[in-house]
């Protein structure tokens, strides 16, 4: 605090007045930050080392929660399910979104109509999508199996099948690419035409343009979408809850679903805090790894200067 105050005393009266107004202005946010972010983060860290049943006081228990976690089948199952989901959903979503954005970035007629259609599923709540998906993927009279039957394919059991339920969830994620598509589209529009012309002059074709202009110029945006998509996918909750309720036989028991059950169905708040901490660490480590690796494949214009 004194480090903050020292330059403060050096200020002129008018600058000091401005500073005070600034602090008053940002006070609501800062209070919110302390109460609802900083304090809970610290508290959560503490709680993960306690035995804390809902309605009782937390009791320090050292590493007990983490010992339990390592031997908890549900934890490993939920981690496995979530990793598979992330691996299936995030790259697929990025590729589809980039593909559509590239199609739309050409001289296409009615761009706003296309954009509306592709963005529409992303506007709807995850619950409504899960409810709709539950019907679309009904094995007997759902849309997908009806269409498959029309071309003579006997569709799988989707949400009722242990093998297919997670895949159904991944498909559901691929349906909501609107946000990423819009970001890619903005990124593509920002690539100067000169760069493409340069490739044409060098005799390069479409692939060369894609490989040597689009991908490098877009790589910061790809990185951003990957990181955000990835953080979001790790926390998936509504889909598996409403679509399959974690089933069949825990085939869609995602990390957050397991965490929610531990906390609010079984009342193990201490153990759930430990789960939250582990999720936080996994996300942090993987995010840092992605961002570190980005030095190898992300191109920033500034580097050239």
């Amino acid at each position: 605090m004194s480090a903050l105050l020292r330059p403060f005393s050096n200020l002129s009266p008018s600058a000091r007045r401005e500073a005070i107004i600034f602090y008053l202005c940002v006070l609501p946010w800062f209070l919110g930050f302390i109460i609802f972010i900083a304090y809970p983060t610290g508290r959560s860290l503490y709680l993960s080392f306690t035995n804390y049943q809902i309605g009782r006081e937390p009791v320090w228990s050292g590493m007990a929660n983490f010992d339990r976690l390592v031997n908890d089948g549900d934890f490993w199952q939920s981690l496995r399910v979530t990793l598979l989901y992330v691996l299936g959903a995030v790259p697929g979503q990025s590729i589809i979104a980039l593909g559509i954005a590239m199609l739309l970035a050409q001289k296409i007629r009615g761009i706003s109509i296309w954009r509306t259609i592709y963005f529409l599923p992303s506007v709807i709540s995850a619950v409504a999508i899960a409810v709709l998906w539950f019907y679309v993927f009904n094995p007997e009279y759902g849309l997908v199996n009806t269409l498959l039957a029309a071309i003579g394919i006997d569709g799988p059991g989707w949400v009722f099948s242990e093998d297919w339920a997670l895949i159904t969830l991944i498909f559901m994620n691929w349906w909501t690419i609107g946000g990423q598509m819009v970001i890619y589209l903005a990124g593509l529009k920002g690539i100067p035409d000169v760069l493409y012309e340069a490739v044409e002059i060098d005799g390069g074709g479409s692939w060369a343009k894609f490989r040597h202009v689009t991908i490098p110029m877009l790589s910061p945006v790809i990185l951003f979408n990957l990181v955000l998509g990835f953080i979001g996918a790790f926390q998936i909750f509504e889909g598996p809850l409403v679509l399959t309720n974690g089933g069949p036989n825990k085939a869609t028991l995602t990390y957050m679903l397991n965490l929610y059950r531990q906390a609010f169905e079984f009342g193990n708040l201490g153990y759930a805090s430990a789960l939250a901490l582990v999720l936080f660490l996994i996300i942090m480590v993987l995010t840092v790894l992605i961002i570190r690796s980005s030095a190898l494949w992300v191109y920033y214009e500034a580097e050239q200067k």
């Binding site: 330059p7 609802f36 296309w114 506007v123 709807i124 709540s125 409504a128 009279y141 903005a186």
Partner: protein, 658 residues
């Protein structure tokens, strides 16, 4: 992160004034080849396929929400339709209509007048080859069509020799007597089960094998009944329905099985009509007297039971029979009253002059009635009773009566029987708007969907208010004012945007619990008054792009910070404020996890939470589930169509900040 100002200036859409638009260079002139057009067509094809995948499920959801429940199961891709009925004579009953296509390809509309069971038999005279084999050598039975009849065929794998298809005819000790399928050609017949059952029993011996057989009356053929049995529907062209009459069940008596058209049916006679005038019975069951609810509300009165005449006379109102007695009025004249209902202490009566609307209805249409108390007498009624295409509000009164629908035999000459599988219901397009009313009025633990709508609306308003008050002020501070530590605070603000919320979940829950806010709406809006990192960033970027000179003028006039914010910045920031409002609406309307954690009473549920709850209650009632979904997403979809650019620009900003 550092050079955020430069990034913000890239977002042309969010500028107060659009200074220039990027001009597309005419690149087509460089490579105007056929390949380009090919690629463009391919792009359109891919876009159309993609758009189909994106859009069709939603269209399908809308379609399903307007379908009747039967169509969900039978016609997943069909347009919402209703079944068509043909009116039974002058009655209120309707028979379902079916399409039938005859051998000449002519299509006609028919209704069911009865059914007839058939079975498969073997003409003993046609039996040639038979074996007695242990059952282990036989596979499981499978029903096939053979020679115009149905047969249960099994695979016979003899210990020595080739596998062949056989039919099991009878037991022979522990063995089974079988005949090869090929040897049965010409011996298999499909005959009416009634004919077989009425045939004389006979013990038959063929090639030393013994069978229980029957000799058929009409053909004199001796047969072994094998099965499987099958049911065929007896149907008649829809015109025949015009002659149907409604009679009481006691007037009808059986007159035996007789030929009719190309088939045969049980015949009936009617009391008071000649013995040789036959009728076909189409349906029989309880019918219920009903009366228009308006007449009951306006004219019926409740009286103590002892005021009833001890010997009321029974009187028929059409087919409904109600007790009638004379009641003296205040001016000592007598009025005839009909008794509609009786409880243990009171009776509901109505003057006979107001009984015009009493009639009978098939009981099935009155299922799940509501109850209204009139003078403390509970009256069961339905407000959506349909009769010949019109809707009425009717009260259920009096005693049920067994009624029968009969068609004169003479109108049934064209009756025939068919395999039910070749019949399809006759339908016509109709949108079942009432699904929406149904979904909205379903009881969900003491609440309805309208409750959820109100809760979500209240929360949207509170969140909007909170964000509007806090975000504008904080964003202004970050955009315009200088102070020590500002950059550190701004970096913290940006960092909190990446914060995974699960870590905060349990302590935040503790905070709200300690304040007694669990199962209230407080946790779902109070934090809006402390700002939101993304919205603060969004508005701060916008404020930064507004020229400072505009503010200076106001400052010289002596305006303070709040006045400048209110009268200079905000009027210039309408697009950014719109984006902020839309995002707030979007997040609040779609929020699920936090309402799910904090709310347990259904009367507090938000729309998203309520939809999840609706799904758990009416999981396979897809038409209602889809109607509820359409209702839940309607506001946000509408907002999206009208304010699309704010959604998209807000998203672009979040993408470009990285």
């Amino acid at each position: 992160m550092a050079n955020t100002d430069a990034l913000a200036s890239n977002i042309t859409g969010l500028r107060p004034s659009e200074t220039h638009k990027k001009q597309g260079r005419p690149r087509a002139t460089l490579s105007k080849s056929g390949g380009r057009y090919l690629r463009l067509s391919l792009s359109y094809i891919l876009l159309i396929i993609g758009a189909f995948v994106m859009f069709f499920p939603m269209l399908w959801m809308l379609g399903a929400s307007l379908k009747p429940s039967w169509q969900i199961l039978t016609q997943p891709l069909g347009f919402p339709s209703e079944w068509i009925h043909v009116q039974a004579g002058n009655t209120v009953h309707g028979f379902p209509l079916w399409h039938h296509t005859d051998d000449d390809g002519e299509r006609q509309r028919v209704f069911q007048v009865g059914s007839r069971r058939y079975t498969t038999v073997i003409d003993v005279a046609g039996l040639t080859t038979m074996y007695s084999v242990p059952p282990e050598e036989l596979g499981t039975a499978e029903t096939i069509d053979f020679d115009g009849a149905r047969l249960n065929v099994r695979e016979w794998r003899p210990a020595d020799g080739d596998t062949q298809d056989v039919v099991a005819l009878a037991r022979d000790g522990t063995n089974l007597v079988i005949a090869p399928l090929d040897a049965l050609a010409g011996a298999v017949r499909q005959v009416a089960l009634a004919d077989v059952n009425s045939g004389a029993r006979e013990n038959i011996e063929v090639d030393d094998f013994r069978f229980q057989g029957r000799t058929l009356e009409n053909s004199g053929m001796t047969v072994i009944a094998l099965g499987p049995e099958s049911e065929r529907r007896v149907v008649a062209p829809e015109e025949a329905a015009a002659n149907v009459v409604l009679v009481t069940a006691e007037e009808v008596s059986r007159a035996g099985l007789r030929d009719i058209g190309e088939t045969e049916l049980e015949h009936y006679t009617l009391a008071g009509r000649p013995e040789d005038e036959y009728y076909i019975q189409l349906s029989s069951g309880p019918w219920q007297p009903i009366i228009d609810m308006d007449a009951v509300r306006d004219h019926a009165i409740a009286i103590p039971l002892d005021e009833l005449s001890p010997t009321p006379e029974l009187r028929a109102f059409e087919f409904a029979v109600l007790p009638v007695f004379a009641m003296s009025t205040a001016d000592s004249s007598e009025v005839e009253m009909a008794v509609l209902l009786q409880t243990t202490t009171r009776a509901l009566v109505i003057p006979v002059e107001h009984t015009d609307s009493i009639r009978l209805s098939p009981l099935g249409r009155l299922a799940e009635p509501f109850v209204e108390r009139l003078d403390s007498v509970p009256v069961r009624y339905r407000d959506d009773y349909e009769e010949l295409g019109d809707r009425y509000e009717v009260a259920i009164v009096g005693q049920q009566r067994d009624m029968t629908l009969l068609a004169p035999r003479s109108a049934m000459d064209d009756a025939f029987d068919v395999d039910p599988e070749v019949l399809g219901r006759v339908s016509q397009p109709r949108l079942y708007i009432e699904n929406y009313i149904d979904a909205l009025s379903r009881d969900l633990g003491g609440a309805t969907f309208l409750t959820f709508f109100r809760n979500s609306t209240v929360l949207v308003v509170l969140n909007l208010l909170g964000h509007f008050v806090s975000v504008t002020i904080v964003a202004y501070g970050f955009a315009r004012l200088r102070a020590p530590g500002k950059n550190v605070l701004f970096l913290i603000l940006l960092a909190t945007m990446m914060m995974p919320f699960p870590v905060l979940l349990i302590p935040t829950y503790e905070i709200f619990q300690s304040m007694g806010m669990i199962n209230t709406h407080w946790p779902l809006f109070i934090r809006a008054f402390f700002g939101n990192a993304f919205l603060i960033f969004l508005l701060r970027q916008f404020f930064t792009s507004i020229p400072v000179e505009l503010e200076d003028a106001a400052r010289i006039d002596g305006a303070n910070t709040l006045q400048i914010l209110w009268s200079v910045m905000l009027p210039l920031s309408k697009p950014a404020l719109a984006t902020m409002g839309i995002f707030t609406f979007w997040w609040t309307w779609n929020a699920f996890f936090e309402p799910y954690v904090y709310l347990s009473s259904t009367r507090l549920f938000t729309v998203s939470l309520g939809l999840g709850f609706f799904k758990s209650q009416y999981t396979y009632t897809y038409h209602l589930l889809m109607a509820a979904s359409v209702i839940a997403i309607f506001p946000i979809i509408t907002l999206f169509f009208f304010a699309q650019r704010y959604f998209i620009e807000g998203i672009q900003l979040s993408g470009l900040k990285g």
